[in-house]
Structures are given as C-alpha cells and as structure tokens.
C-alpha cells in the first residue's frame, strides 16, 4: 500500500520510537537520545508524519509498540537528514503505510557516526514516558 508521495519533502517530520528496554538508548544525563539510536544495520526505521497531527502519530506508535513499552518518541525534520547527505526511503508496510527508513545516502544502509550524532543532537522530543 502506498498513498504518500515517495519523495519526502525537507519540511516533513520523521518520528522514531525509543523502546523501554533495559538498558536503552536514552541519555538520562542529557535528556535526549544517544547517537546509538540512529545506528541500525537495517536502516533507521521511522514513521513519516503524512500530514497527520502529533496526537495521531503518537497514538499509532503506542498501539503498535504497546502503551507501557516506550521510553520516548522523538522527531527529526527530513531537512536535517538531507543536510548530512542521508537518503530517506519511503517503505510502506502492510500494517504501517507511513513507514520509511533513513539510510547513509552513499549506497549503504548504516549511517556514519557523524550522521548519527547529528540526528541525535537535532531531534526533538515529542513524548517521554516514565523518565
């Protein structure tokens, strides 16, 4: 299923959930995610906003991950990804038509350390749970 424009505009926001694993990827001292959140061998899995409001997006994450399973939800503007030469691939799933992946942009899946650090520094906290 694909009903969004595959080309993601720089002003669109991408949302990522941080699961409440122990340990997890949240930096308690800085109250923001570690760059480790953006280091993923499968690509950084995110949800496009797809013209939804924040409440709808948060509800969608909570329904998929479980209401007690999340540490936080953060978002990053697509323009920040492009600024570091990342590519954003629209990859809708059967159960999530808003799914996309942030890749290296150099033909590789995994982000560089500099890209991961930049995204961690520039993302915004949308929701925090039990911190």
């Amino acid at each position: 299923m694909s009903f969004l424009n595959p080309k993601i505009d720089e002003n669109e926001f991408l949302y990522r959930a941080i699961k409440k694993s122990i340990p997890n990827q949240w930096d308690i001292e800085k109250n923001r995610p570690s760059s480790a959140l953006f280091k993923d061998s499968k690509g950084v899995s995110v949800d496009r906003d797809g013209n939804r409001n924040k409440r709808e997006i948060v509800t969608s994450f909570l329904e998929r991950f479980g209401h007690t399973e999340l540490k936080a939800i953060v978002n990053i503007r697509a323009g920040h990804c492009y600024e570091k030469d990342c590519s954003i691939l629209y990859r809708p799933l059967d159960d999530n038509p808003f799914h996309a992946e942030i890749h290296n942009g150099n033909g590789k899946v995994e982000l560089t350390k500099g890209q991961a650090r930049f995204l961690a520094k520039n993302c915004t906290i949308v929701e925090q749970y039990d911190l």
């Binding site: 480790a36 280091k39 993923d40 061998s41």
Partner: protein
C-alpha cells in the same frame, strides 16, 4: 571513613601517603591514571565538600556495572526494530575495555551489534567508542572538527586510554 561510602570494593581506596611511598615500586599505569583522576576527590573529601564531578563519576560507575549485566539479557527485537542480542565476543570486549579504562563512560546498545561508550564535555566536544566483535571504532568531535579512527583489538586498552587522555587534555 568518608571515602568508603563512595568507592566500591573493586576500587581500592586511595591514600596519598601510601602511594607516595610506593611510587618507585610496581604501580600499574592504569592505577596511576586512576590515582591522578581521583586525587583531587580524596583530598577534597577529607578537607572540604565532595566535588560534584566525582559524585557523578561514582554514580555512573554503579549505573554502568548494572548496564553491562543487563546488556547480556537483551533479547531479539529489544529496540522494536528487529535488533539482535549481543554476541559473547562483543560483550566480552565491552566488559574488558570498561574494566580497564581510565574514565567512566556512558554506555548504550546500538542496533548494529555494537556497544557504544560515550564522553561529552560541557563545551560540546564529544568522544565515542563503538565496540564491535573484532574492532573498536572511534569518533571524535573537537571544536566541531570530526575525526574517526579504527582500533584493532591488539593493545586495545592502551590505545583507548591514549585517545581518552588526548580528548580530555585537548
């Protein structure tokens, strides 16, 4: 004693008089670095209030020891995006490096089979070690300049401690 309440049993309590007497004997370089890092703490805990940074350092240590144990228990999909459990090699490398480095890092799991140790100064300068099964990758941002190197596992602790020293002395 004041010191006892802030050191774990694995961390010998520093006595400046004993160390002075032993400086010519066999004192490991790691021990010397730890002494250097803690001397101000011990003096000030004896004569003045305890500096915040040493309390933070001890608090981190207790968190880190628990984190290293918990990393072993992470199961498939611990991050909700299909991340796999950590291999014994990666866990062993992380434990070995952690127990031999000269400063307490912040420790995080990644979704690419690596464990990350981080340091950050108040001015935003940043240092990370990404520990894999066969190597350690280093990323450093100092005065907004980026630098990356890879350290093989041979002599890894010596190299890692050199990088930490270089970072905190710059």
């Amino acid at each position: 004693m004041i010191e006892k309440s802030y050191f774990t049993p694995s961390e010998p309590i520093f006595n400046p008089f004993i160390v002075k007497a032993n400086t010519s004997s066999k004192v490991s370089s790691l021990w010397q670095m730890r002494v250097k890092n803690r001397i101000a703490y011990n003096y000030s805990s004896t004569f003045t209030s305890i500096p915040q940074k040493y309390i933070v350092e001890e608090k981190r240590k207790s968190i880190n020891l628990q984190k290293l144990k918990d990393l072993e228990k992470l199961e498939y999909n611990w991050n909700g995006n299909g991340a796999e459990p950590f291999t014994t090699e990666v866990l062993n490398n992380a434990n070995y490096i952690y127990h031999n480095i000269i400063r307490e890092p912040k420790i995080f799991p990644t979704g690419r089979k690596s464990i990350q140790f981080e340091y950050e100064k108040n001015n935003g300068d940043y240092l990370e070690f990404e520990i894999f099964h066969d190597r350690v990758e280093v990323y450093m941002e100092v005065s907004e300049e980026e630098k990356e190197i890879t350290i093989p596992l041979i002599n890894v602790v010596k190299k890692v401690n050199e990088v930490i020293n270089e970072f905190f002395e710059s």
